[in-house]
Symmetry: C2
Subunit: 289 residues, 2 copies
């Protein structure tokens, strides 16, 4: 997946911030800190904090001052992956080519690592909330997106729908909540901090999240290409809900195009430099090509 100009800069900011935060973590016993760090420092595209930083940048704010929010956002994402990978959930033994948290630290500590990452995220949010009303608003955005109205609802639908025949609406509901909510949250948080209208960011983010999840399904089918176009390994889960299983390949591709368009439409009203966000749509759409 080749990324738009600027991505590297935001990613470097985030990686630094995360490394600092991970070094400061000194929870006991050691296994608790280790399992949290392991789950946070497993690489990945860091799409959510990058989008958060990019939106702050586009709004003329200094994103380097908002490292705590960026880390909190990634903590929520990391916890959701740790719990998602558990045997009772998706039962994934690997995550980005490394043993998943429960394979490395045992199931009990994977449950606790997830719990601790979620708690740590809120700890960061509450520390930031003292800075003013817009920061409290940003904290609330993340809280709502992470909880039973957002991401957890999507995971619950995902489980409830397993093995059932789904329509388009149901699949989109899962993807919007499971992935769209947290991607939109990063963008909305940036707007809240910048005290700008959140609506366009919310719409773009939600649709980008759905697009991301749809193309994630293509990766399950084809594998992902790296920047040189080389096909990388793919994760496999036999009974995983994917858009290709639901619609067949052709309609799934059309659906991805539809959501790429929705992202573009949302961006039209954006008051600022939308170049990064526009280019990102193509990157996400074409990441298997």
């Amino acid at each position: 997946m080749s990324m738009p100009v600027g991505y590297e800069k935001y990613l470097a900011f985030f990686t630094d911030a995360l490394d600092k935060m991970c070094k400061e973590m000194r929870f006991s016993p050691d296994i608790l800190t280790e399992s949290m760090r392991y789950s946070l420092q497993s690489g990945g595209k860091r799409l959510r904090p990058v989008l958060f930083a990019a939106m702050l940048d586009a709004c003329g704010c200094d994103y380097e001052r908002e490292a705590a929010f960026a880390v909190a956002l990634e903590c929520v994402h990391a916890y959701s992956l740790v719990h998602d990978d558990l045997p009772a959930m998706d039962n994934d033994d690997f995550r980005r080519g490394k043993p998943s948290c429960h394979k490395r630290f045992g199931e009990a500590h994977a449950i606790l690592a997830g719990d601790a990452l979620l708690s740590y995220a809120f700890d960061l949010l509450l520390r930031e909330a003292v800075r003013g009303e817009q920061y409290l608003r940003a904290a609330k955005i993340l809280s709502e997106a992470a909880g039973a109205e957002g991401m957890i609802s999507g995971q619950s639908y995902d489980i409830s729908f397993t093995g059932k025949s789904l329509g388009k609406e149901e699949l989109i509901t899962v993807y919007k909540r499971k992935t769209g909510a947290l991607i939109a949250a990063g963008l909305k948080m940036a707007c809240a901090i910048a005290q700008k209208n959140e609506q366009i960011a919310a719409e773009y983010g939600e649709n980008l999240g759905i697009l991301f999840q749809l193309t994630d399904d293509f990766i399950d089918e084809y594998g992902e290409s790296d920047e040189a176009g080389k096909t990388l390994g793919k994760d496999k889960r036999a009974d995983k809900l994917t858009c290709i299983k639901v619609f067949g390949l052709e309609r799934a591709e059309a659906l991805a195009d539809e959501y790429a368009d929705k992202c573009r439409v949302a961006l039209r009203g954006f008051d600022g430099d939308a170049c990064f966000f526009d280019r990102l749509i193509d990157c996400v759409r074409d990441r298997t090509k």
Copy 2:
């Protein structure tokens, strides 16, 4: 366990508040809301929110205005029980005589119900934090007590120590963090809201939490007596860490006496009517008698 005068009043306040909050929960799919409500409305002594209300009362504050904090506190407790009961943790099929959350809703939904309860607690805290500095402080107290510095650390130690031979210090570390942190948090939150010194409440709460956990171990051994002195059923877990296994019965009883004394000593400096809190020490100490 016969409770001090006043307990019923605080319990009634809390039960009402919880029922209202549970009715307002309308997360989808339905199983998500149901599993959250099931875990919250499973009865129990509600020690944490009762202590919170009692401390507000003792500080001259209207506890009925702080229902959201009381519910948030119980949500954190409920989530910890749901995750604790999971097969990978304590593997308890029953909780207070009813099937535990994962036996009723399946493991995947028990993981999600726990996650959702924790998120919901923080949602409530962030909503309250807007009311002023003392409320933000109360929110932070709960966040710290729930996370990797508090309760989760205790659970992690508990797992790490399983099957090892422990000394007194190690056992007390587990109990202080696993149980003491959240019981102390309720009392500290009340002091923060009342803008009173938190130190005495913290010390009393932590020691009461340890005492509670020690006498919990006696219940595992003997069963619990109800108000009429009748012995109730006991939960059994074969490899559960208990103070009786570590020290033998006599030293365990002496340890409970020691911590009851520590509670009494902490209360000496309390500026207000300490009657409820003083009486509660005996109730917790003697709940198997």
